[in-house]
Each structure stands twice: as C-alpha cells, then as structure tokens.
C-alpha cells in the first residue's frame, strides 16, 4: 500500500516537473544554444559507442543465424533477411536505447543532481529563471532530435558488421545482399524511428527528474544516477511491448 502511495507521489511530482520543463523558454537564444550543446554532448558523443556495439552485434547476429538455422531446406538469403529485421525492429531501436539509457541517463541524473546539491538550481530559481525549463527542455529536445540519427547509424553499422562476416567465409556478399533487400518494408524503419523518439523522451525526462529531486549529498547523487538508469530501462522495456503491438 505504502509503495503504491509512494509511486503515485513520484508520478505526480514527475508530471508537475514536466509541466514546468515543457513550456515556452524564457529566452529562445539561450534555449537554442543549450539545445545544440545537448545534441553534441548526449548524441554526438555517443556515436562511437553506438557504431562499435552495433557493428559487433550485427556480425554476431549474422553468425548465430547462420549457425543455428542453416539447413538445406532454408534459402541462404535468410541469414541477411533475419539480421536486417532484428537490427531494424528490435536491436537498433530498443536495445541500443537501453544501452544509451545507461550512458546518457546516468550522465543527466548526476549532472542535474550535482547542480541541485551545490545550490546551482537554487541560484537559477532566485534569478527568476525557470530552472526546470532551462535545464531539462534542451536535453529532452536534443536527445529526441539526435536519437533517430543514432538509430539509423546503428542499423547501418549492424549491416556492415554482417557484411564483415563474409570476410570470415561464413556467408557471401551476394547472399547477404539478397537477404537485406528481400521484402523490405519501409514502415519497419519508421517504427524504429518512432520508438527512438519515445525512448529518448523516457531516458531524458526520467533521468532529469531523478537528478532534479535529489536531496542530500554525493551518495544520494550516485543513488539517483543508478535509479535513473534502472527506472528508464524498465520503462523502455515496458513501453516496447505496447509500441511493438501498436506499430507492427
């Protein structure tokens, strides 16, 4: 009973905070500056990890499919086809966002949490600045803009990884080519984009909430950072079920 009450209290506070954050910026000039900075910090700085992980996962998926479903009855292009569908529908959109929830979520929660405990947020409030709007909105808008680009990079890197397995002689490039092109449904790409935008909102808003509401010292900031990652990961997985059933 207590945990339900606690959960509802957090939900109410989260909605209130988002109400303050998602409003017209005090100064568009400052918002745009912050927006570009956040896109760079949260998105551009994540390109490396997205490319590396996606490349290797693409290669591994290709190898696993080849090893596990290889049969004289199965067309050879199935390996490429399955790799494409997995990357497009689930890995690049959902699993990559889960990984980014760890990197970006902890970054946001600890940054805002540290600002809270060092009174920087109080300083903004005293100046008459809407601190929630100034700090949180550019992060939400920035990651929601850059996440679809990261997902696209992830799909491309995964497919490149699959091609790389042909160097090991597991498959051939023409077989993979055929599979990658076979019955391509453009909507699946857009499904990934929609999921990316929703997950970007979840990661930034939940992590910002956890950081903004920190009370105490460095231990609490560390805890809020962990909570932000755990909670946004759970919410991503939970919403994945609904989004998948709604979109496909």
């Amino acid at each position: 009973m207590l945990s339900i009450q606690n959960g509802l209290t957090h939900l109410g506070r989260y909605v209130q905070l988002m109400g303050r954050a998602i409003s017209t910026p005090d100064r568009w000039r400052m918002f745009l500056k912050q927006y570009v900075t956040e896109m760079y910090q949260l998105g551009y700085n994540s390109i490396g990890i997205v490319l590396i992980i996606s490349f290797f996962i693409g290669a591994v998926i290709c190898l696993q499919i080849k090893l596990n479903i290889q049969s004289p009855w199965m067309p050879r292009m199935v390996v490429g086809y399955t790799t494409r569908e997995i990357m497009l529908l689930e890995f690049s959109s959902s699993i990559m966002c889960l990984i980014l929830a760890g990197k970006v979520g902890s970054n946001i929660a600890s940054e805002i949490g540290t600002m809270r405990i060092t009174q920087q947020i109080d300083a903004l409030d005293i100046m008459g600045v809407n601190s929630a709007n100034y700090l949180i909105l550019p992060k939400i808008a920035g990651l929601m803009t850059i996440m679809p680009i990261l997902v696209t990079f992830s799909v491309c890197a995964g497919i490149l990884g699959a091609y790389a397995t042909s160097l090991m002689g597991t498959t051939t490039v023409p077989e993979l080519d055929e599979g990658f092109r076979y019955q391509f449904n453009q909507w699946f790409f857009w499904c990934g984009m929609i999921k990316a935008v929703v997950y970007a909102f979840i990661i930034t808003s939940v992590s910002a909430y956890k950081g903004y509401t920190v009370e105490g010292g460095s231990v609490e900031v560390g805890k809020s950072s962990t909570d932000a990652v755990v909670l946004s990961s759970i919410l991503i997985l939970f919403s994945d079920i609904f989004l998948t059933s709604m979109l496909t």
Partner: protein
C-alpha cells in the same frame, strides 16, 4: 525595505521559525545572526521564496511576497541577487559567462554591451584578468567574488548573502565584507547577510537581527550589541575568549564593572 510580520515555518511537526518580526532597511547591511541550527538559513530561504512560510507575511516595500502570483514572484526575483554559501557558480561556464548569465537571460542589450557590463562588475570585485578561468580553477575567495559580481550585474534592489565568509580565511573574509558593504552603500541596496562570523558582526553590522531557537530575540546595530542585555545574545557573541575580554574592557570603560 523588507519587513517580516509574524512569520512561522514548520516542517511536519517541527516548528523552526516562531513568530519572527523584523525590518531590514534600505542602503544598510542587515545581518541575521545566530547559532547553527537556529533557523537563519530557513528564514533566508523563506525571504527569497525558496520555501513557503506556514504563516505570516514578507513585504518587499509594499508588496506582500507570500501573496504574489507566480509571475509576479518571478518578476520580483529579477530584482534580487543572491550569494550562496557555496558560491553556486555554474561549473560548465567560465567566470565571464557566469557573470554574463543573468544578462543573457534578461537583458535585451547586444553582446558587446552585456560583456562590457560583466567586465565592469568583475573589475568592481577586483577580478580583472580572471574572466576566462573556470570556477574549478579559482580559489574559494575568488569564487565568492565572482558570485558577488553575478549577483550585482543586473543592479538588484535586494541582495542576499548566505554565510558569505564560510570557509574563508579572516583576511579574505574582511575583503568580502568590505565589498558587500561598499556595494550596499553605493547602490543603496537592501542587503541581508546570514552569518555567524563575529568579524562581520562587529565590522559591517548596521542592523542586526539575532535568531535563537527560531525566534527573533534581539535587533540593533554593532555598537548597541556591546551593551545588549540579552543573555542568549551575549552567550553567543562573547563565546570566544578574545571577545569576552573585549566586552570586559568595554564594560570597565563604561564603569559597569
């Protein structure tokens, strides 16, 4: 002028401020003094609106801050400057960017004029040449001076300082006190300083409010404090040997002992 009438503040069952009445005058350094845990910071947070009083009124000239709408509070806050105990500078910004921040948010001047104004404020706190440094690269005293420059850049009517000398050596504390006092008199600002630094009390305390266990026990200035008869105030002010001896000398001179 800031006037507080019958102010109460409770946290759940605990009553932290009890019927506080005080007047903070224009163009004077108003000090709030008291032991740690006496309610000074809670009082300051109520005055600036970071906390909402349980009961009572806070008047900024003729405006009751508690009764103002959210928008009116935001507008009034733009007339306030605050120096925090930890300086609360933005880590990701340079010294110049920190001082320019309020101008960037609220001023319609062009970039050159904003920069010029920020540099003037930095010069006023003797920090010319430090504008490209980051808060992590400068000393605690310099951070406090940057905080002062940031607080005065919009020419506020009200200046709040929460333990500005905390963590500073006595010499640097005097520099900070002199800066706060100078700015208050030159710009005719209503300044409220939260402190338990006795050098500040004796040096710049033109209007002192003593808080004890959540009540305003005494109000006067740094000259009157030597002759105050409030026992709790005397126990607090003259706790150190040096000040106790100074008090004894003062009393001897006046023929009280």
């Amino acid at each position: 002028m800031i006037k507080i009438e019958h102010l109460y503040k409770s946290f759940e069952d605990k009553e932290v401020l009890k019927d506080i009445n005080a007047v903070f005058k224009d163009g004077e350094v108003n000090l709030i003094i008291g032991q740690s845990g006496s309610g000074k910071t809670v009082l300051m947070k109520n005055i600036v609106g970071l906390l909402t009083p349980t009961q009572g009124s806070i008047f900024y000239d003729d405006k009751d801050f508690v009764a103002l709408t959210k928008k009116e509070k935001i507008l009034l806050r733009r007339e306030m400057g605050m120096i925090f105990q930890s300086a609360a500078l933005f880590d990701s910004m340079s010294v110049l960017e920190n001082v320019m921040f309020p101008l960037n948010m609220f001023s319609y001047d062009n970039y050159d004029d904003r920069k010029k104004r920020a540099l003037e404020c930095l010069a006023r706190v003797n920090l010319t040449g430090a504008e490209n440094k980051f808060p992590g690269e400068i000393s605690g005293g310099m951070q406090k001076r940057v905080a002062i420059a940031r607080a005065i850049v919009l020419q506020p009517k009200y200046l709040f300082c929460d333990e500005p000398n905390s963590g500073l050596d006595p010499k640097t504390s005097i520099v900070i006190d002199e800066l706060i006092s100078g700015i208050t008199h030159e710009d005719n600002i209503t300044t409220i300083v939260n402190t338990h630094d006795m050098n500040s009390v004796m040096g710049i305390g033109e209007n002192i409010t003593f808080i004890c266990e959540g009540r305003a026990e005494w109000q006067g200035n740094n000259k009157e404090i030597m002759d105050a008869e409030n026992k709790r105030l005397n126990d607090f002010i003259f706790a150190s040997d040096i000040l106790r001896q100074a008090k004894e000398l003062h009393d001897e001179k006046k023929g009280l002992k």
